[in-house]
């Protein structure tokens, strides 16, 4: 019997888990077990989903049994399934890290429940095929992120959350009016249906209002995805919460924005004569530059990684904006790589800060002496981030550059290529000054559960290595994902079953 509801499971399992966790607030041990197991189950389910999409093509589910476009439809194409899988993996790693890395106080106050809700939001956003439902999942994700960023209530958390929430409230407001504008013009909310309707008129004379709505969506998702010049809120906000939360934020939240740009752009705004495309490309390039400037500016380990999020967003969007098949495949390669490696790096940097008791590189040094395991994991992660072959960032970057060159966007492609160097400089600064250097003794060193905390980042880094070395195995998945972005009829037909 074909399980028609299969694609909802990666949303449903964390949701149910979250509810169970609310009841388990008294026992930290039980919470750990339940959330860890559930996260593992989610990973397995998402992997099965990817496999199903690989074999049977795009999966759809018309919720409440109403035909599209009248109900809400969930759609798992390869891109969405892969992102769901990556999300689940990252979440699993962060949960494992949290067992020893977040502190019992936070665990007692619904940390795991909020985290599970966040996974619900992220997986939901990746899966939904309805533009308003996307908004709802954004809100689930955001509300959980508010909960997580606030949890603990330290001064810096309070201060930065006000900014974070404010920016997101604005972007949510814009999101709803953008949906309103779109609804006014095309009269429907199902994304495949919107795409079908827009492509119906695109041959004739497509009114400019579509481009404008495209721009507003770009701003809405760009705020989440932290593109230039909408990224200002990010460094401060991501700095505030503890490492596992930072890792989740850094790996997942911006990527939901990026995904939404990819999705809406490829479905709705691609055929608008290239205006939205140009805007995205210019902003992508500026985003890379802005990110690099930030990454080079600080001696604070967390900030260095945080600004690297912005660089990656720019690189991915550049690949998307070329709408060239290999660049697009590259972007998807890179997107997933970045989720894994950013999570690993944030956890590693968090571990570094836990050991040394500071975020400032100038007060660190010589960690390689007593923490070789950490040091080499970090080294590999740093190389992977910079796209050094055969680690995970490489294939994606090569494809983006190659696609950029072949579509003759030379400046952009060259900047993507050059960004690797600056990323490398910024991250190796941590290695050279923190891992190398005169060994020091640190006050809290003895009490840090170093080995346990190292497990999660090691898992992620191993994954990243396999991802790079096994690129041939992964490539068919990526190209299938890119295919449904380029040939949107695949997506539309799967949903509307025409």
């Amino acid at each position: 019997m074909a399980m028609i509801n299969f694609l909802i499971l990666p949303i449903l399992v964390p949701l149910i888990t979250a509810v169970i966790l609310i009841f388990l607030n008294k026992s930290v041990i039980a919470q750990r077990w339940v959330s860890g197991l559930s996260a593992f189950v989610t990973v397995i389910l998402s992997a099965l989903l990817v496999n199903k999409v690989k074999n049977d093509g795009i999966q759809t589910l018309n919720l409440s049994n109403w035909d599209a476009p009248f109900g809400i439809t969930l759609v798992s194409d390869m891109l969405s399934a892969l992102l769901v899988l990556t999300t689940s993996i990252v979440a699993f790693a962060c949960i494992i890290y949290s067992f020893k890395g977040i502190g019992e106080a936070r665990e007692k106050y619904h940390f795991y429940a909020a985290l599970q809700f966040l996974i619900v939001g992220v997986n939901g956003a990746f899966t939904t095929g309805d533009i308003f439902n996307l908004f709802v999942f954004f809100e689930v994700m955001l509300m959980s992120s508010y909960a997580l960023i606030l949890l603990g209530g330290t001064k810096i958390q309070l201060r930065e959350s006000i900014k974070y929430i404010l920016v997101n409230v604005i972007s949510s407001g814009l999101f709803v009016i953008a949906v309103g504008y779109l609804y006014s013009v095309v009269g429907t909310l199902n994304m495949a249906h919107i795409a079908a309707r827009i492509s119906e008129i695109s041959g004739i004379s497509q009114p400019g209002v579509i481009s404008i709505i495209g721009i507003i969506f770009l701003i809405v998702f760009g705020l989440k995805g932290a593109i230039f010049p909408l990224y200002f809120w990010l460094p401060g906000s991501y700095y505030a919460p503890p490492a596992p939360v930072m890792a989740i934020f850094g790996a997942l939240l911006t990527k939901v924005g990026v995904y939404s740009i990819i999705r809406t752009y490829s479905l709705f705004f691609y055929e608008d004569g290239g205006y939205v495309q140009q805007v995205i490309m210019i902003l992508a390039i500026l985003t890379i530059i802005a990110g690099i400037i930030g990454a080079l500016a600080y001696s604070d380990v967390k900030k260095i990684i945080i600004y690297n999020i912005i660089v990656a967003v720019g690189v991915i969007l550049f690949g998307v904006s070329t709408m060239n098949e290999s660049a697009l495949t590259g972007s998807i390669f890179y997107l997933i790589h970045d989720m894994i490696i950013k999570a690993a790096l944030f956890l590693l940097v968090g571990l570094m800060a836990t050991i040394t008791g500071t975020n400032n590189l100038k007060q660190m040094g010589g960690l390689i002496k007593n923490y070789p395991g950490f040091s080499w994991t970090f080294f590999l992660a740093a190389l992977a981030l910079s796209g050094i072959p055969p680690l995970s960032g490489f294939v994606g970057k090569v494809l983006i550059v190659q696609g950029g060159f072949s579509s003759e966007y030379f400046i952009g492609a060259a900047i993507v290529l050059a960004s690797s160097l600056f990323v490398l400089i910024s991250i190796m600064k941590i290695f050279i000054n923190g891992v190398w250097g005169e060994p020091k003794t640190y006050a809290n060193e003895k009490t840090v559960p170093y080995k346990q905390l190292l497990i999660a980042p090691v898992i992620l880094v191993i994954l990243s290595i396999c991802y790079g070395v096994g690129a041939d195995f992964i490539y068919p998945y990526m190209s299938q994902a890119a295919e449904s972005l380029i040939n949107t009829n695949l997506y539309i037909d799967a949903v509307l079953k025409e």
């Binding site: 309070l158 201060r159 709803v176």
Partner: protein, 113 residues
Amino acid sequence: MEILMIIIAGILFMSATYLMLSRSVVRIILGTTVLSHGVHLLLLTMGGLKRGAPPLIGEEASAYSDPLPQALILTAIVISFGVTALFLVLGYRSYKELGTDNMEKLRGNDGND
């Protein structure tokens, strides 16, 4: 009527923006509430106004108002309520903890290197 409503929504957006740009936490939070009103009115307007009876079957009407935007707005209202509530409590907590309602005093860029 739609034009009037669009303009009203615009005014609400304008006020909201001005409030959110202010440095007082109270104004900022009130700004987000005003923003949500603007959003909801605009969304309703985008569906077309007064196209018929309220969307209740049995009103013996030949036409009904578009029920879909109404449903969306209802969802949006509830979500904004949740966000507003959280934001309010945050404003209150942070004032107690940080001792100020002035966002300019909360830049927190000291030791920024």
